[in-house]
Subunit: 213 residues, 2 copies
DNA sequence: GAGCGTGTAGTCAAGTTTGACTAGCGAGGG
DNA sequence: CCCTCGCTAGTCAAACTTGACTACACGCTC
């Protein structure tokens, strides 16, 4: 599962109604092209595909207000909203060692109620520990771990990565339980998209992978 | 860059000459279908593509000795060998937060001379530190880091991951410098493929992501 | 000795990703 | 006035990935 659908649904949802270029700008603003497959082609493809599947409603093209070809506006359907939360929950819980899904998940985590976020993150640590255990269980061949040669370093790396991730997840859980951030059920949400017409503070100058704040 | 080309080139190279099914079996043996895009279709596709590009020489089909359709055998060309080492070096040095390339790189690292492996891994730690610095540099907006809201957790996660990776890399460098493992210039190499006809100790029973030893 | 399961070897269509390309419009300079 | 530049908005072909499917041969059972 790539992160593109989650990202696109999340972006459209923030706007309520958005056209492709808007979504594309948000994702660039978030730096998503650096840590996921969020290139123009993928974004437009995902929009069309999800519209075909009934997750998005495509309003008929409106002529652009600012040059360029006419644009199609999209809006989440009920099914699309369901799918958004399904993907978000899955992303929070899944340990897959790929960075993009996790990054997207953290970006949208405040769309859930605080308690559910904590619960999902705890489930995440659990799954990480299970994975870690299953690596170790098959780690040592009958002849002793020396037989593995340098391949043992791969297990080593996986265990190290898993530990690091579990530690970070626990830190996040603590901060959330300690009252940090504003969640779905708690007043005005954090806004991370550009309003129509707002100038993009990062639009000029070179871009860096960490521009997506 | 996905890891598939590196994996396929590495597998064919180990055999000297191999047909698609053999490569496919190696990669499954290594568990690569769990941590990379090494599914049958991708493997056969990569073989054909690389043959077309002159990285592999495709010997004409030979009737199978053991049932099934006839098979095509592949062999690395000079260009293919070059490309293999280029990909391997790049993979060792690149910090991209995706697990598959790194895993493949560690698996093949002993194909390089020991000194070069160490040098590349040191370059890797350097790049990780550069990336970390560039994240932090753009971390704090003018209004103070509080403005970031939960999005700051993404930076936090990236920095945490980078630190963990750098630490693991330094550990590996130490072990290699300490004389561990057998490298390209040092006598009989570690063999990680099944010989033609050898029984696969993991062929039966359920498979786990960590079977690839 | 006919069918059936299993292993071998690979193909294929559908879906996704990539990176380059197109085309319209306004602003500004010469 | 006209021409180029940059922004807006999106398309497209080529490559890659996915997961299901085919086809052959061997051995086993009923």
């Amino acid at each position: 599962m790539s992160a593109i659908r989650l990202l696109v649904l999340g972006a459209v949802r923030m706007h309520g109604r958005a056209h492709g270029y808007q979504v594309r700008n948000d994702l660039e603003y978030w730096g998503a092209h650096e840590w996921s497959s969020a290139k123009p082609g993928s974004i437009y493809h995902a929009l069309k595909q999800m519209a075909k599947q009934g997750l998005l409603h495509a309003h008929e093209v409106a002529p652009s207000t600012a040059g360029g070809p006419p644009r199609t506006e999209y809006e989440l359907t009920g099914q699309g909203t369901e799918e958004y939360f399904r993907l978000l929950r899955e992303a929070l819980v899944t340990y897959d060692q790929r960075g993009d899904v996790k990054t997207a998940a953290v970006g949208f985590v405040v769309d859930l109620p605080r308690a559910e976020a904590v619960a999902l993150l705890k489930e995440r640590t659990l799954r990480i520990e299970q994975w870690r255990a299953s690596v170790l269980e098959h780690y040592v061949p009958e002849e002793g771990s020396g037989q593995l040669g340098h391949i043992g370093e791969i297990m080593n790396m996986w265990v190290h990565t898993a530990d690091s991730e579990a530690e970070w997840t626990r830190g996040l859980i603590e901060r959330i339980e300690g009252g940090a951030y504003t969640f779905a059920d708690e007043g005005d949400p954090f806004v991370g998209v550009l309003a129509e017409g707002a100038e993009n503070p990062y639009a000029t100058g070179e871009r860096h992978p960490e521009d997506d704040r």
